[in-house]
């Protein structure tokens, strides 16, 4: 395997900055590719070389595989880091990189494909005796869904076989909702993923979203970096994440981490990945949800408690190096919380708020990390997702991390665009949140539901 001397960062925003920093720390040259709208972005200013790959529309720039690969070849880079989103989980992208002699900093195309088909992934987990949510099966039509409902009872969850991110996902409270929601879900899935197949499963009402960070190398070594709790969600989008998950008993932690390792070992997974589970809080049981074959937005909370740099490890692994840590080397210290600050107006149904940032003063606390691509004068583009910054606070325990995050949020001065910071401040003050008495529906149904009334 050749040594990686330069990396093309096939992404934008905070994750592009994050990857460039990791490259700089390793003494590797970073090449940024930008759309026309991102010529003045921080990744463009930080990178050793910048290439404009196309217009603002992502389909003609960040999502254009031949163009991104040509940029890497033309610039003479050794490897491509896809970040998250955009091309990160496109097996054809990983394949095209490899076909042209470039190292794809991520898993093998085969792993992306295996885990990208959510139904196949569930079948694999079940075959490994990892619990999957009862029922999970493909439903061809309304009639099949109805007979499944009669057999198992309601509530039920309809999901797109091809996708994630909540698109094509519907909760069915009773058979009377089946007809309209089945058609809606099917149409949504078809529009979002070009695949309208749906599967149906029992809906777990008081669920926690628990996910396990995995690292694997090409020598067959796989380790876990413990778990994160990402239960605070709005429309299936994570808002605030924590590590460790304080809701777990030591036995449950062991169980869920072992299950994640089992899957990763089974496919001989390489690079960073995340195995997601649903914890049924009423029954104290875990169910496999899916595996994400990329670095995730919320990876910094794991870095804060383990001390590892996941992007640097991804680059080392892609360069063929064996993992530098054994499982016994991985320990955690304290608690970390991440708040995703979006340019959105919580007062106006989270409507995007693009515009010029007139003031940008991040908090200065050595135990608070801010991952962002923003600066004073930066124009938040309406073309892309609205993530402005991730604030990550560490504490010796959860209450200390919560307090530190509160202080950080109150010291973070942003003007020019509306942000979700006020929402985060309110969440952190909430008694139910502080007591950890929440589930994946709490934010939307209880917290925001109450706020509206």
């Amino acid at each position: 395997m050749k040594k990686i001397k330069s990396v093309l960062v096939a992404n934008r925003g905070e994750i592009a900055v994050r990857v460039i920093r990791a490259c700089q720390a390793l003494g590797i040259a970073a090449i940024a590719v930008v759309s026309e709208a991102d010529r003045e972005s921080l990744p463009a200013k930080m990178a050793d070389r910048v290439l404009c790959i196309g217009p603002a529309q992502a389909t003609k720039s960040y999502l254009d595989i031949p163009t991104v690969v040509t940029a890497a070849l033309g610039a003479g880079t050794d490897a491509i880091h896809p970040g998250y989103g955009f091309l990160a989980e496109r097996p054809d992208f990983a394949e095209t990189c490899v076909k042209h002699g470039l190292i794809f900093i991520g898993p093998k195309a085969l792993h992306i494909r295996q885990m990208g088909d959510k139904l196949l992934a569930r079948e694999m987990a079940a075959a490994l005796h990892i619990p999957v949510i009862p029922g999970s099966c493909l439903v061809r039509d309304l009639q099949e869904a109805a007979s499944f409902g009669e057999k198992t009872g309601y509530p039920l969850l309809l999901k797109a076989a091809a996708g994630g991110g909540g698109r094509g996902m519907k909760i069915l409270q009773g058979p009377e909702e089946l007809k309209s929601l089945f058609n809606e879900a099917s149409a949504e899935a078809g529009a979002a993923f070009g695949d309208d197949r749906l599967y149906i499963e029992r809906y777990v009402p008081h669920a926690r979203h628990i996910e396990v960070q995995i690292l694997g190398d090409c020598h067959g070594n796989v380790i876990h970096l413990f778990e994160r709790d990402c239960s605070l969600q709005r429309r299936y989008q994570k808002i605030l994440e924590e590590a460790p998950a304080t809701v777990l008993t030591p036995e449950q932690r062991l169980e869920v981490c072992e299950a994640a390792l089992l899957i990763a070992r089974h496919i001989r997974y390489e690079s960073a990945g995340t195995v997601e589970f649903i914890l049924d809080q009423d029954e104290g049981r875990f169910y496999f949800l899916e595996m994400n074959t990329r670095i995730q937005v919320e990876h910094p909370v794991t870095e804060m408690i383990t001390g590892l740099d996941l992007i640097q490890e991804q680059i080392r692994i892609a360069g063929g190096q064996p993992l530098r840590y054994s499982q016994a080397d991985i320990t955690t210290e304290g608690h970390a919380i991440e708040c995703r600050i979006n340019a959105e107006s919580p007062e106006r149904q989270f409507c995007p708020s693009p515009g010029r940032i007139t003031q940008w003063q991040p908090p200065k606390d050595p135990l608070v990390r801010v991952d962002s691509h923003c600066y004073e004068g930066y124009v938040v583009s309406p073309f892309y997702d609205s993530l402005l910054a991730k604030i990550i606070a560490h504490g010796k325990d959860r209450p200390e991390a919560v307090e530190r995050m509160q202080t950080a949020l109150s010291h973070f001065l942003i003007s020019g665009v509306e942000t979700t910071m006020p929402l985060h401040r309110r969440i952190l003050m909430d008694d139910a949140y502080r007591a950890g008495k929440i589930d994946t529906c709490w934010l939307e149904k209880v917290f925001l539901g109450n706020a509206k009334a």
Binding site: E36, L51, C52, I53, G54, P55, S61, P66, T67, V69, T70, A71, G74, A75, T96, H100
Partner: protein, 144 residues
Amino acid sequence: MESRDISDALSLIEWMKQSHLNALHLRMGSLILDLKRYAEEERKADMDSAENIERQAGKPILSPRLGIFFRSAKSEDRPLVEIGQRVQADDCVCFINVLDQRYCVTAGVQGRITEYFAQDGQLVEFKQPIFAVKGQESDEIKQP
């Protein structure tokens, strides 16, 4: 302009390539010859500014995509256009290769090619100036 003048001009260009001169300004009757040697840095700096090009060499033709620039379909072929050549808006002036796809770049404007800014096999970016074209009105080279 007679063919003798053209061959004289071409040999002057060849001569200048061998010499250490950076610039040459010459007037022979109706023929005005302005030659400038670009250091790699200068060439790049000049490329950066489409406005600069428009002022000096004419309207720039911008690359419609990122890719590998070629002035001809095959390396042994003559370039599709040469400096001084007249082009119509829909004339193909070069190729941009993106992996296995080859795209023809049309001039987009009518006029005379005054300059090219990329070499065969070079990576060009989206909207990078690759040629300059001067329209008839501002054509400084007088027809006989």
